[in-house]
Amino acid sequence: MWGFYFEQLVQSIPFFLKGLWMTVAVSGSSLVAGTVLGFVWGVIRAGRGKVLKRIIGAWVDLIRGTPFLVQVFIFFFILPEAGIQLEAFPASVIALTNLSACFICEIVAGGIQSIPSGQREAATASGLSSYHQLRYIILPQAMRIILPPLVGQYVLLVKDSSVVSAIGVTDVTRVGWLTVQRIPEGIMVFGLVGILYFVICYPLIRLSNTLEKRMTVVTTKL
């Protein structure tokens, strides 16, 4: 019996690979868009515009305080009521982009705020504009601090992408869910699902750890 199911599972591998591709598509687009948006929000959060800081801060808090599943349902079911019809894939990407941007925003703001104020003072004293300061002095230094947690966040977001299977997006998790209806060997099917996620996530986790180690070695002496 077990052998029979195993064979069936092997035959389903193409289906799983399509699901894997979908996971990569959803996560990938959301990560790119989320990173761009997250950097913009992060720079604002670390800046001086009090009103904008608070608005973004409040939104980030809302997103961090509610389950992603609920956010996905809200984007998918409620936006149509406001007139925006969305299919599952775009709704997922929007929800995941928003989630990514919120977490990345905090990482970026934290990195920027950790740069010693003396750097900003030196740049101000020589007359550099805020834009130039950010671009040439602050961000290049902040990137070293931002990169390890940023990559770590990417891993979390790939895992979070599994939640969009709940609204029908055919990612790896959904493929598993569909397959297990035909092949009732949960351990084998979801073992395969796990392996597929592991293949994507584990290298990213190792990358994040390596980046973190390298970052703590390169410090300037005074």
């Binding site: 003396g118 750097q119 003072e121 030196a122 101000t124 020589s126 007359g127 550099l128 002095i137």
Partner: protein, 242 residues
């Protein structure tokens, strides 16, 4: 060139600068000294508005620094500031550090800026370190790069906030040497420092501050030999006997 008129500043409830009146002419070298907490660093940080003032007038090179509407970029381009902690940009080489402001604020072309950078780095004795990163330089070398960074903007005024206080004793002189040359060349300088030898050699005037007020202003010989106020006498007795 620089004029403080009845300047007052508070940090919250703390009154850190009290009724400051001071004029510094072009080409003058002024050394500001006093016990810690006397407000001397705050005083020079007001000149390029790293610290704002709440009362009084501060006019630098005919521009009103106290006026919130004044565009500080122009003023700051004419003032070089050297920090106690150097504040060099660690991710840029010495050349990078000295050329970034000329390129972005004075809009110089890269080749022009690098030529200027090399010239100034030579002047401070670090021509061969143009491609070194701050982490590869000693404290004294880093501070000289910081001075070069200020000089590359061809400023009218150079401000120094305790430039040698964070340095190991062997390196203090290499920095003071650069500053002595600048003074002799006629640069307008205000230096917050405890280096009395330097003050005696190059300063036109010494400003002694205590608890936010200017207590005494005098040429160095007069100040060191015949201090007029009790507080100045007390301060001098403490620092000259160590």
């Amino acid at each position: 060139m620089i004029r403080f008129s009845n300047v007052n500043k508070w940090f919250g409830d703390l009154h850190v600068l009290k009724d400051i009146n001071l004029s510094v002419e072009g080409g003058e070298v002024v050394v500001v000294c006093g016990p810690s907490g006397s407000g001397k660093s705050t005083l020079i940080r007001c000149i390029n508005r790293l610290e704002p003032i709440q009362q009084g007038e501060l006019v630098v090179d005919n521009m009103k620094v106290h006026d919130k509407k004044t565009n500080m970029t122009k003023i700051r381009a004419e003032i070089g500031f050297v920090f106690q902690q150097f504040n060099l940009y660690p991710h840029m080489t010495a050349m990078g550090n000295v050329t970034i402001a000329p390129m972005k604020v004075r809009k110089m072309k890269k080749s022009e800026a690098e030529k200027l950078g090399r010239e100034i780095l030579e002047r401070v004795g670090l021509g061969n370190k143009a491609d070194a990163y701050p982490a590869q330089l000693s404290g004294g070398q880093q501070q000289r790069v910081a001075i070069a960074r200020g000089l590359c903007m061809r400023p009218k005024i150079m401000l120094f906030d305790e430039p040698t206080s964070a340095l190991d004793p062997e390196m203090i002189n290499e920095v003071l040497d650069v500053m002595r040359v600048l003074a002799r060349e006629g640069m307008t300088m205000i230096v917050v420092s405890h280096e009395m030898g330097f003050a005696r050699e190059v300063a036109n005037r010494v400003v002694f501050m205590d608890e936010g007020q200017i207590i005494e202003v005098a040429p160095p010989n007069d100040f060191f030999k015949n201090p007029r106020t009790e507080r100045a006498k007390l301060f001098l007795s403490k620092i000259l006997t160590h």
